[in-house]
Symmetry: C2
Subunit: 243 residues, 2 copies
Protein backbone atom coordinates (compact mmCIF):
# COMPACT_ATOMS: atom_id res chain seq x y z
CA UNK A 1 0.00 0.00 0.00
CA UNK A 2 1.23 3.50 -0.76
CA UNK A 3 2.26 5.56 2.23
CA UNK A 4 -0.60 7.51 3.65
CA UNK A 5 -0.22 11.01 5.00
CA UNK A 6 -2.61 13.05 7.10
CA UNK A 7 -3.21 16.58 8.33
CA UNK A 8 -5.40 17.83 11.20
CA UNK A 9 -7.16 21.21 11.24
CA UNK A 10 -8.29 22.23 14.73
CA UNK A 11 -10.89 25.00 14.60
CA UNK A 12 -11.58 26.92 17.77
CA UNK A 13 -11.11 30.32 19.37
CA UNK A 14 -11.36 28.60 22.75
CA UNK A 15 -8.03 26.84 22.14
CA UNK A 16 -6.19 29.89 20.81
CA UNK A 17 -7.46 31.95 23.75
CA UNK A 18 -6.22 29.38 26.25
CA UNK A 19 -9.66 28.56 27.66
CA UNK A 20 -9.58 24.92 26.55
CA UNK A 21 -6.64 22.58 25.95
CA UNK A 22 -6.96 20.71 22.67
CA UNK A 23 -7.29 17.02 23.52
CA UNK A 24 -8.45 16.03 20.04
CA UNK A 25 -5.29 16.39 18.01
CA UNK A 26 -3.17 14.38 20.51
CA UNK A 27 -5.83 11.64 20.43
CA UNK A 28 -5.88 11.54 16.64
CA UNK A 29 -2.07 11.75 16.42
CA UNK A 30 -1.78 8.60 18.50
CA UNK A 31 -4.54 6.85 16.56
CA UNK A 32 -3.03 7.73 13.19
CA UNK A 33 0.38 6.47 14.28
CA UNK A 34 -1.15 3.19 15.45
CA UNK A 35 -2.87 2.94 12.06
CA UNK A 36 0.47 3.41 10.26
CA UNK A 37 -0.52 6.82 8.87
CA UNK A 38 2.07 9.61 8.79
CA UNK A 39 0.64 12.78 10.36
CA UNK A 40 2.47 15.70 8.70
CA UNK A 41 0.86 18.81 10.13
CA UNK A 42 -1.57 20.08 12.78
CA UNK A 43 -2.88 23.62 12.55
CA UNK A 44 -5.11 25.44 15.04
CA UNK A 45 -7.07 28.37 13.64
CA UNK A 46 -9.92 30.68 14.74
CA UNK A 47 -13.62 30.16 13.92
CA UNK A 48 -13.34 32.30 10.77
CA UNK A 49 -14.66 31.20 7.39
CA UNK A 50 -11.78 32.55 5.29
CA UNK A 51 -9.05 31.01 7.46
CA UNK A 52 -10.83 27.64 7.49
CA UNK A 53 -11.27 27.75 3.71
CA UNK A 54 -7.59 28.58 3.20
CA UNK A 55 -6.41 25.75 5.49
CA UNK A 56 -8.81 23.25 3.93
CA UNK A 57 -7.67 24.10 0.38
CA UNK A 58 -4.04 23.61 1.34
CA UNK A 59 -4.52 20.42 3.40
CA UNK A 60 -6.88 18.88 0.83
CA UNK A 61 -4.15 19.17 -1.80
CA UNK A 62 -1.22 18.22 0.45
CA UNK A 63 -2.32 15.15 2.40
CA UNK A 64 -4.14 11.88 1.71
CA UNK A 65 -6.40 12.25 4.73
CA UNK A 66 -7.64 15.44 6.40
CA UNK A 67 -9.47 15.68 9.71
CA UNK A 68 -11.17 18.77 11.04
CA UNK A 69 -12.17 19.18 14.68
CA UNK A 70 -14.66 21.76 15.96
CA UNK A 71 -17.05 24.41 14.73
CA UNK A 72 -19.95 22.15 13.73
CA UNK A 73 -22.66 23.10 16.24
CA UNK A 74 -25.78 25.23 15.78
CA UNK A 75 -24.47 28.60 17.03
CA UNK A 76 -23.11 31.79 15.43
CA UNK A 77 -19.48 30.71 15.80
CA UNK A 78 -19.93 27.33 14.08
CA UNK A 79 -18.69 28.11 10.58
CA UNK A 80 -16.70 24.98 9.74
CA UNK A 81 -19.15 23.70 7.09
CA UNK A 82 -19.09 27.06 5.33
CA UNK A 83 -15.29 27.19 5.55
CA UNK A 84 -14.81 23.68 4.16
CA UNK A 85 -17.29 24.36 1.36
CA UNK A 86 -15.38 27.57 0.54
CA UNK A 87 -12.05 25.76 0.50
CA UNK A 88 -13.40 23.28 -2.05
CA UNK A 89 -15.25 25.97 -4.07
CA UNK A 90 -18.62 24.46 -3.26
CA UNK A 91 -21.87 25.63 -1.77
CA UNK A 92 -23.33 24.68 1.59
CA UNK A 93 -26.51 22.66 1.11
CA UNK A 94 -29.06 21.06 3.41
CA UNK A 95 -28.66 17.28 3.46
CA UNK A 96 -32.16 15.73 3.27
CA UNK A 97 -31.23 12.63 5.30
CA UNK A 98 -29.70 14.75 8.07
CA UNK A 99 -32.73 17.04 8.08
CA UNK A 100 -35.10 14.09 8.33
CA UNK A 101 -33.05 12.67 11.21
CA UNK A 102 -33.15 15.98 13.08
CA UNK A 103 -36.92 16.32 12.58
CA UNK A 104 -37.39 12.80 13.97
CA UNK A 105 -35.11 13.52 16.94
CA UNK A 106 -36.55 16.92 18.02
CA UNK A 107 -39.74 16.62 20.01
CA UNK A 108 -40.86 20.28 19.94
CA UNK A 109 -40.64 22.90 17.22
CA UNK A 110 -37.70 22.64 14.82
CA UNK A 111 -35.93 26.01 14.62
CA UNK A 112 -33.22 27.54 12.43
CA UNK A 113 -30.49 26.43 14.84
CA UNK A 114 -31.63 22.80 14.61
CA UNK A 115 -31.67 22.94 10.82
CA UNK A 116 -28.16 24.44 10.73
CA UNK A 117 -27.01 20.99 11.91
CA UNK A 118 -28.24 19.54 8.58
CA UNK A 119 -25.99 21.81 6.49
CA UNK A 120 -23.04 20.20 4.70
CA UNK A 121 -20.67 21.08 1.84
CA UNK A 122 -22.23 20.02 -1.48
CA UNK A 123 -21.29 16.46 -2.41
CA UNK A 124 -20.71 15.36 1.20
CA UNK A 125 -21.21 11.71 2.14
CA UNK A 126 -22.66 10.47 5.42
CA UNK A 127 -20.77 7.69 7.14
CA UNK A 128 -22.86 5.55 9.46
CA UNK A 129 -20.73 3.62 11.91
CA UNK A 130 -22.07 1.24 14.49
CA UNK A 131 -22.34 2.65 18.01
CA UNK A 132 -22.08 6.26 16.82
CA UNK A 133 -25.43 8.03 17.00
CA UNK A 134 -24.89 10.85 14.55
CA UNK A 135 -23.32 10.13 11.13
CA UNK A 136 -19.84 11.44 10.33
CA UNK A 137 -19.73 13.82 7.39
CA UNK A 138 -17.04 13.28 4.77
CA UNK A 139 -16.37 15.40 1.71
CA UNK A 140 -13.57 14.41 -0.65
CA UNK A 141 -10.64 13.37 1.61
CA UNK A 142 -11.89 15.44 4.54
CA UNK A 143 -13.49 13.93 7.64
CA UNK A 144 -15.47 16.53 9.58
CA UNK A 145 -15.42 15.85 13.32
CA UNK A 146 -16.93 17.74 16.25
CA UNK A 147 -14.93 19.55 18.93
CA UNK A 148 -16.49 17.72 21.87
CA UNK A 149 -13.81 15.13 22.77
CA UNK A 150 -16.22 12.35 23.82
CA UNK A 151 -17.97 12.41 20.45
CA UNK A 152 -14.84 12.96 18.39
CA UNK A 153 -13.20 9.91 19.94
CA UNK A 154 -16.13 7.64 19.19
CA UNK A 155 -16.31 8.83 15.61
CA UNK A 156 -12.57 8.68 15.01
CA UNK A 157 -12.21 5.19 16.46
CA UNK A 158 -15.06 3.97 14.26
CA UNK A 159 -13.40 5.52 11.18
CA UNK A 160 -9.98 4.03 11.82
CA UNK A 161 -10.54 0.73 9.98
CA UNK A 162 -10.99 2.80 6.80
CA UNK A 163 -7.42 4.01 6.67
CA UNK A 164 -5.33 1.31 8.37
CA UNK A 165 -1.90 1.10 6.68
CA UNK A 166 1.28 -0.86 7.40
CA UNK A 167 2.29 -0.34 11.03
CA UNK A 168 5.44 1.32 12.37
CA UNK A 169 7.86 -0.86 14.33
CA UNK A 170 9.26 0.91 17.38
CA UNK A 171 12.13 0.09 19.70
CA UNK A 172 13.28 2.28 22.58
CA UNK A 173 16.64 2.86 24.28
CA UNK A 174 16.93 4.76 27.57
CA UNK A 175 20.40 6.25 28.17
CA UNK A 176 22.08 7.63 31.26
CA UNK A 177 24.22 9.95 29.15
CA UNK A 178 23.06 13.32 27.90
CA UNK A 179 22.42 14.37 24.32
CA UNK A 180 25.82 15.99 23.78
CA UNK A 181 27.54 12.76 24.74
CA UNK A 182 25.47 10.51 22.47
CA UNK A 183 25.08 12.86 19.47
CA UNK A 184 28.04 11.23 17.67
CA UNK A 185 26.47 7.75 17.92
CA UNK A 186 23.13 9.12 16.67
CA UNK A 187 24.75 10.84 13.69
CA UNK A 188 26.70 7.69 12.81
CA UNK A 189 23.51 5.59 12.97
CA UNK A 190 21.62 8.04 10.76
CA UNK A 191 24.42 8.01 8.18
CA UNK A 192 24.28 4.18 8.02
CA UNK A 193 20.44 4.02 8.17
CA UNK A 194 19.23 7.15 6.34
CA UNK A 195 15.61 5.97 6.20
CA UNK A 196 15.43 5.47 9.97
CA UNK A 197 13.04 7.48 12.14
CA UNK A 198 15.29 8.25 15.09
CA UNK A 199 14.03 10.41 17.94
CA UNK A 200 16.03 11.77 20.87
CA UNK A 201 14.07 13.08 23.86
CA UNK A 202 15.89 14.44 26.91
CA UNK A 203 14.11 14.28 30.24
CA UNK A 204 15.28 16.61 32.94
CA UNK A 205 15.27 15.73 36.64
CA UNK A 206 14.56 12.06 35.91
CA UNK A 207 16.33 9.69 38.30
CA UNK A 208 16.32 6.74 35.88
CA UNK A 209 17.52 8.09 32.54
CA UNK A 210 18.58 11.26 30.73
CA UNK A 211 17.53 10.62 27.13
CA UNK A 212 14.90 8.38 25.55
CA UNK A 213 15.78 7.27 22.03
CA UNK A 214 13.08 5.98 19.67
CA UNK A 215 14.15 3.81 16.74
CA UNK A 216 11.41 3.32 14.16
CA UNK A 217 10.66 2.05 10.68
CA UNK A 218 7.84 0.39 8.77
CA UNK A 219 10.47 -2.22 7.83
CA UNK A 220 10.81 -4.33 10.98
CA UNK A 221 14.16 -5.89 10.05
CA UNK A 222 15.63 -2.47 9.19
CA UNK A 223 14.50 -1.09 12.56
CA UNK A 224 16.06 -4.07 14.32
CA UNK A 225 19.41 -3.72 12.51
CA UNK A 226 19.55 0.01 13.26
CA UNK A 227 18.62 -0.61 16.89
CA UNK A 228 21.43 -3.19 17.26
CA UNK A 229 23.94 -0.87 15.59
CA UNK A 230 23.00 2.09 17.79
CA UNK A 231 23.21 -0.07 20.93
CA UNK A 232 26.73 -1.15 19.94
CA UNK A 233 27.78 2.46 19.24
CA UNK A 234 26.41 3.69 22.55
CA UNK A 235 28.22 0.95 24.47
CA UNK A 236 26.79 -0.79 27.51
CA UNK A 237 27.93 1.98 29.83
CA UNK A 238 25.42 4.43 28.33
CA UNK A 239 22.33 2.23 28.26
CA UNK A 240 19.93 1.98 31.19
CA UNK A 241 17.44 -0.35 29.46
CA UNK A 242 15.64 -1.01 26.20
CA UNK A 243 12.05 -1.70 25.22
CA UNK B 1 -1.19 50.42 22.18
CA UNK B 2 -1.87 48.72 18.84
CA UNK B 3 -3.36 45.26 19.05
CA UNK B 4 -0.72 42.61 19.22
CA UNK B 5 -1.05 39.28 17.43
CA UNK B 6 0.98 36.13 17.86
CA UNK B 7 1.64 32.78 16.22
CA UNK B 8 3.20 29.62 17.65
CA UNK B 9 5.26 27.13 15.64
CA UNK B 10 5.64 23.76 17.42
CA UNK B 11 8.47 21.73 15.92
CA UNK B 12 8.59 18.03 16.72
CA UNK B 13 8.09 14.61 15.16
CA UNK B 14 7.36 13.30 18.64
CA UNK B 15 4.11 15.27 18.75
CA UNK B 16 2.96 14.38 15.23
CA UNK B 17 3.72 10.71 15.92
CA UNK B 18 1.65 10.74 19.09
CA UNK B 19 4.55 9.93 21.43
CA UNK B 20 4.36 13.19 23.34
CA UNK B 21 1.43 15.52 23.96
CA UNK B 22 2.31 19.15 23.30
CA UNK B 23 2.03 20.97 26.62
CA UNK B 24 3.87 24.06 25.38
CA UNK B 25 1.33 25.64 23.05
CA UNK B 26 -1.51 25.40 25.64
CA UNK B 27 0.78 27.01 28.20
CA UNK B 28 1.73 29.85 25.86
CA UNK B 29 -1.89 30.27 24.66
CA UNK B 30 -2.97 30.91 28.24
CA UNK B 31 -0.05 33.22 28.92
CA UNK B 32 -0.62 35.24 25.75
CA UNK B 33 -4.30 35.68 26.57
CA UNK B 34 -3.44 36.85 30.07
CA UNK B 35 -1.02 39.33 28.47
CA UNK B 36 -3.77 40.66 26.19
CA UNK B 37 -2.12 39.28 23.05
CA UNK B 38 -4.30 37.71 20.35
CA UNK B 39 -2.96 34.28 19.37
CA UNK B 40 -4.01 33.71 15.74
CA UNK B 41 -2.47 30.38 14.80
CA UNK B 42 -0.62 27.35 16.15
CA UNK B 43 1.06 24.97 13.73
CA UNK B 44 2.83 21.71 14.52
CA UNK B 45 5.36 20.54 11.93
CA UNK B 46 8.10 17.89 11.64
CA UNK B 47 11.81 18.42 12.35
CA UNK B 48 12.49 19.30 8.70
CA UNK B 49 14.46 22.38 7.65
CA UNK B 50 12.32 23.29 4.63
CA UNK B 51 9.02 23.06 6.51
CA UNK B 52 10.38 25.11 9.42
CA UNK B 53 11.70 27.76 7.01
CA UNK B 54 8.35 27.95 5.21
CA UNK B 55 6.38 28.32 8.45
CA UNK B 56 8.81 30.90 9.85
CA UNK B 57 8.64 33.01 6.69
CA UNK B 58 4.84 33.04 6.80
CA UNK B 59 4.49 33.65 10.56
CA UNK B 60 7.22 36.31 10.60
CA UNK B 61 5.23 38.31 8.04
CA UNK B 62 1.77 37.63 9.50
CA UNK B 63 2.06 38.17 13.26
CA UNK B 64 3.62 40.69 15.61
CA UNK B 65 5.14 38.00 17.82
CA UNK B 66 6.26 34.50 16.86
CA UNK B 67 7.27 31.72 19.25
CA UNK B 68 8.93 28.48 18.25
CA UNK B 69 9.07 25.45 20.50
CA UNK B 70 11.44 22.51 20.04
CA UNK B 71 14.33 21.37 17.90
CA UNK B 72 17.12 23.32 19.59
CA UNK B 73 19.23 20.57 21.15
CA UNK B 74 22.57 19.12 20.05
CA UNK B 75 21.38 16.07 18.06
CA UNK B 76 20.77 15.22 14.39
CA UNK B 77 17.05 16.09 14.56
CA UNK B 78 17.57 19.56 16.03
CA UNK B 79 17.28 21.72 12.91
CA UNK B 80 15.23 24.65 14.18
CA UNK B 81 18.08 27.19 14.00
CA UNK B 82 18.80 26.21 10.40
CA UNK B 83 15.09 26.37 9.56
CA UNK B 84 14.59 29.81 11.10
CA UNK B 85 17.71 31.12 9.39
CA UNK B 86 16.40 29.76 6.08
CA UNK B 87 12.99 31.35 6.60
CA UNK B 88 14.67 34.74 7.08
CA UNK B 89 17.22 34.20 4.24
CA UNK B 90 20.11 34.30 6.67
CA UNK B 91 23.02 32.07 7.55
CA UNK B 92 23.53 30.10 10.74
CA UNK B 93 26.50 31.49 12.66
CA UNK B 94 28.25 30.62 15.92
CA UNK B 95 27.46 33.18 18.61
CA UNK B 96 30.71 34.00 20.44
CA UNK B 97 29.01 34.72 23.79
CA UNK B 98 27.10 31.42 23.67
CA UNK B 99 30.26 29.54 22.72
CA UNK B 100 32.19 31.12 25.60
CA UNK B 101 29.36 30.18 27.99
CA UNK B 102 29.38 26.59 26.80
CA UNK B 103 33.15 26.33 27.12
CA UNK B 104 32.91 27.65 30.69
CA UNK B 105 30.10 25.23 31.53
CA UNK B 106 31.57 22.00 30.09
CA UNK B 107 34.14 20.41 32.37
CA UNK B 108 35.62 17.87 29.92
CA UNK B 109 36.32 18.09 26.20
CA UNK B 110 34.03 20.34 24.16
CA UNK B 111 32.73 18.37 21.15
CA UNK B 112 30.79 19.24 17.98
CA UNK B 113 27.47 18.52 19.71
CA UNK B 114 28.25 21.00 22.46
CA UNK B 115 29.20 23.66 19.94
CA UNK B 116 26.00 23.10 17.94
CA UNK B 117 24.24 24.69 20.93
CA UNK B 118 26.06 27.96 20.16
CA UNK B 119 24.64 28.20 16.62
CA UNK B 120 22.05 30.90 15.94
CA UNK B 121 20.53 32.63 12.91
CA UNK B 122 22.70 35.59 11.90
CA UNK B 123 21.65 38.79 13.69
CA UNK B 124 20.12 36.98 16.66
CA UNK B 125 19.99 38.70 20.04
CA UNK B 126 20.49 36.99 23.39
CA UNK B 127 17.95 37.82 26.08
CA UNK B 128 19.20 37.35 29.63
CA UNK B 129 16.35 37.11 32.12
CA UNK B 130 16.80 36.69 35.81
CA UNK B 131 16.36 33.16 37.12
CA UNK B 132 16.78 31.61 33.66
CA UNK B 133 20.17 29.94 33.29
CA UNK B 134 20.50 29.85 29.52
CA UNK B 135 19.72 33.00 27.48
CA UNK B 136 16.69 33.05 25.18
CA UNK B 137 17.54 33.60 21.53
CA UNK B 138 15.50 36.16 19.61
CA UNK B 139 15.81 37.02 15.94
CA UNK B 140 13.54 39.70 14.47
CA UNK B 141 10.08 39.08 16.00
CA UNK B 142 10.82 35.39 16.66
CA UNK B 143 11.47 34.00 20.14
CA UNK B 144 13.19 30.61 19.95
CA UNK B 145 12.18 28.36 22.84
CA UNK B 146 13.15 24.77 23.70
CA UNK B 147 10.76 21.81 23.61
CA UNK B 148 11.37 20.75 27.22
CA UNK B 149 8.32 22.14 29.05
CA UNK B 150 10.08 22.99 32.32
CA UNK B 151 12.60 25.21 30.53
CA UNK B 152 10.11 26.69 28.05
CA UNK B 153 7.84 27.79 30.89
CA UNK B 154 10.60 29.55 32.77
CA UNK B 155 11.77 31.34 29.64
CA UNK B 156 8.27 32.27 28.46
CA UNK B 157 7.22 33.62 31.86
CA UNK B 158 10.36 35.74 32.01
CA UNK B 159 9.65 37.11 28.51
CA UNK B 160 6.03 38.03 29.21
CA UNK B 161 6.66 41.53 30.56
CA UNK B 162 8.07 42.40 27.14
CA UNK B 163 4.77 42.06 25.33
CA UNK B 164 2.07 42.85 27.89
CA UNK B 165 -0.87 44.60 26.15
CA UNK B 166 -4.33 45.74 27.30
CA UNK B 167 -6.13 42.85 29.03
CA UNK B 168 -9.30 41.08 27.92
CA UNK B 169 -12.36 41.39 30.19
CA UNK B 170 -14.23 38.13 30.53
CA UNK B 171 -17.66 37.30 31.93
CA UNK B 172 -19.23 33.83 31.92
CA UNK B 173 -22.81 32.55 31.80
CA UNK B 174 -23.68 28.90 32.45
CA UNK B 175 -27.01 27.83 30.92
CA UNK B 176 -29.24 24.83 31.51
CA UNK B 177 -30.55 25.00 27.94
CA UNK B 178 -28.76 23.50 24.96
CA UNK B 179 -27.17 25.35 22.04
CA UNK B 180 -30.14 25.00 19.70
CA UNK B 181 -32.39 26.68 22.26
CA UNK B 182 -30.08 29.62 22.93
CA UNK B 183 -28.76 30.18 19.39
CA UNK B 184 -31.35 32.90 18.73
CA UNK B 185 -30.28 34.91 21.78
CA UNK B 186 -26.61 34.55 20.79
CA UNK B 187 -27.27 35.73 17.24
CA UNK B 188 -29.28 38.70 18.51
CA UNK B 189 -26.48 39.68 20.90
CA UNK B 190 -23.86 39.44 18.13
CA UNK B 191 -25.96 41.64 15.84
CA UNK B 192 -26.16 44.32 18.56
CA UNK B 193 -22.53 43.93 19.70
CA UNK B 194 -20.61 43.01 16.53
CA UNK B 195 -17.19 43.51 18.18
CA UNK B 196 -17.97 41.10 20.99
CA UNK B 197 -15.96 37.91 21.49
CA UNK B 198 -18.75 35.46 22.29
CA UNK B 199 -17.97 31.79 22.83
CA UNK B 200 -20.45 28.93 23.24
CA UNK B 201 -19.13 25.67 24.69
CA UNK B 202 -21.48 22.74 25.23
CA UNK B 203 -20.57 20.22 27.93
CA UNK B 204 -22.10 16.78 27.67
CA UNK B 205 -23.08 14.69 30.67
CA UNK B 206 -22.63 17.63 33.05
CA UNK B 207 -25.16 17.69 35.89
CA UNK B 208 -24.88 21.44 36.48
CA UNK B 209 -25.08 23.09 33.07
CA UNK B 210 -25.34 22.38 29.34
CA UNK B 211 -23.53 25.32 27.75
CA UNK B 212 -20.85 27.71 28.99
CA UNK B 213 -20.99 31.12 27.34
CA UNK B 214 -17.95 33.41 27.39
CA UNK B 215 -18.50 37.14 26.84
CA UNK B 216 -15.30 39.07 26.20
CA UNK B 217 -13.89 42.38 25.07
CA UNK B 218 -10.90 44.59 25.73
CA UNK B 219 -13.49 47.33 26.40
CA UNK B 220 -14.77 46.50 29.89
CA UNK B 221 -17.97 48.60 29.63
CA UNK B 222 -18.81 47.05 26.23
CA UNK B 223 -18.38 43.53 27.65
CA UNK B 224 -20.61 44.43 30.59
CA UNK B 225 -23.40 45.88 28.38
CA UNK B 226 -23.30 42.82 26.09
CA UNK B 227 -23.34 40.49 29.10
CA UNK B 228 -26.42 42.27 30.55
CA UNK B 229 -28.19 42.19 27.19
CA UNK B 230 -27.49 38.47 26.67
CA UNK B 231 -28.67 37.67 30.20
CA UNK B 232 -31.96 39.50 29.50
CA UNK B 233 -32.42 37.68 26.17
CA UNK B 234 -31.75 34.28 27.72
CA UNK B 235 -34.27 34.92 30.54
CA UNK B 236 -33.78 33.74 34.09
CA UNK B 237 -35.13 30.29 33.28
CA UNK B 238 -32.11 29.46 31.14
CA UNK B 239 -29.35 30.69 33.43
CA UNK B 240 -27.75 28.46 36.07
CA UNK B 241 -25.19 31.02 37.26
CA UNK B 242 -22.73 33.66 36.09
CA UNK B 243 -19.10 34.47 36.82
Amino acid sequence: MAERTAGIIVIGNEILSGKVTDANSPFMAEGLRAAGVELRRIVTIPDEVDLIAQAVRSFHESYDLVFTSGGVGPTHDDVTMEGIAGGLDRKVVVDPALEAGIRRHIKGEVNAAHLKMAEVPEGAVLIHDEGVGFPTIQVENIYILPGIPEILRKKFDALRVRFQADPYHLKIIYTRWNESEIAGALNQTMSEFPELLLGSYPKIDNPEYRVKLTVESKDEAYAKRAFDRLLALLTEAAVVRTE
